[in-house]
Subunit: 167 residues, 2 copies
DNA sequence: TTCAATGCTTGCATATTGCAAGCAATCGAC
DNA sequence: GTCGATTGCTTGCAATATGCAAGCATTGAA
């Protein structure tokens, strides 16, 4: 009898492929939220994330924000500028190291944040409406795993995933 | 004793907010893949999705593709143009209705698809490496739920989520 | 004191995107 | 049939976003 040939991997099917499925859900959720804060408060996606970040801190430097929001330094800088221009944040200087910014939210900014957060919670509620407690717990665990794994994937880049280095 | 005040909703915390968590994972996964097919085959994200879609069909019209890839008609048109230019797809006309395109993958296109799909599977494997069978099953169920819910969310837009219509 | 490194910002050149307008083929009403 | 509306797709242009080089101010190290 012949040697067992290495089994052909199943063809990749877009609609069943985990990264695509995640992406679609994420994109569909983002749209209504984005149109909300875009039309209503003229905020970009980076600006909204930054607003959410400074809403939970007294002060934040640009690099702290960049880390918390998964944004690069350029986007953070521009996002902060947008928030400052609209009166939703103020720039200061950190006492210790005066290169660092010390960005904080204003009262107006907090109002805007609360408004958008209401929609944010509504979206989350709608997503989880028919998901029971047990499943929610699994979801949380899974997201932790996916978060850790995706961080590694990004850090390594594609060469780490195709050790044979492709032809 | 005073009436029970409606409990304040917990403040929205970006890092614990489901849409953000999904988005981060999706974005981090997309990056290495995108840099792979971008650098290697000069494909845009729409073009890669279209390639994956026509890889599983004999022929597809632009609108079929748009539906399968969650892309608008413009992006599909441009994506197809890119694939045709690179020799990965050919445009024809559908026999029945000659307005419709009949796009199909070429041999070269299939080779490229197989190559990228290898990385795609590697990414999926890396994501699920430490997720056991039971959890994978739950993940699948959850994604179906999230998919359905997100479709509704997108269809309704934000007004459907904030019935009181915001001040 | 000097020079490199850090933190952030700005400007510019380059994609991406969204939308109006277009063309060709088909369908429906007459 | 034939005329106008509709559908399917494409193109061009304007607005937008993104990536990157270069800049400034501050700090730290030698």
């Amino acid at each position: 009898m012949p040697h067992a040939a290495p089994a052909d991997p199943p063809a990749l099917q877009l609609s069943r492929w985990l990264p695509y499925r995640l992406f679609i859900v994420a994109a569909r959720i983002a749209r209504p939220l984005q149109s909300y804060y875009g039309e209503r408060f003229e905020l970009s996606q980076p600006a909204w994330r930054i607003l959410a970040t400074i809403a939970e801190r007294a002060e934040a430097s640009a690099s702290e924000i960049a880390h918390a929001c998964a944004l690069d330094a350029f986007s953070v800088s521009r996002g902060i500028a947008q928030l400052v221009q609209r009166g939703y944040a103020v720039r200061g200087r950190a006492r210790a190291d005066r290169r660092r910014a010390a960005v904080s939210i204003t009262a107006a900014g907090r109002q805007v944040f609360d408004d958008i957060a209401r929609l944010g919670r509504a979206i989350e509620d709608a997503l989880l409406a028919e998901v029971d407690a047990a499943q929610r717990a699994v979801l949380d665990t899974l997201l932790q795993r996916l978060d850790a794994a995706s961080a590694q994937i990004e850090a390594g880049g594609w060469p780490a995933l195709l050790p044979q280095a492709g032809r």
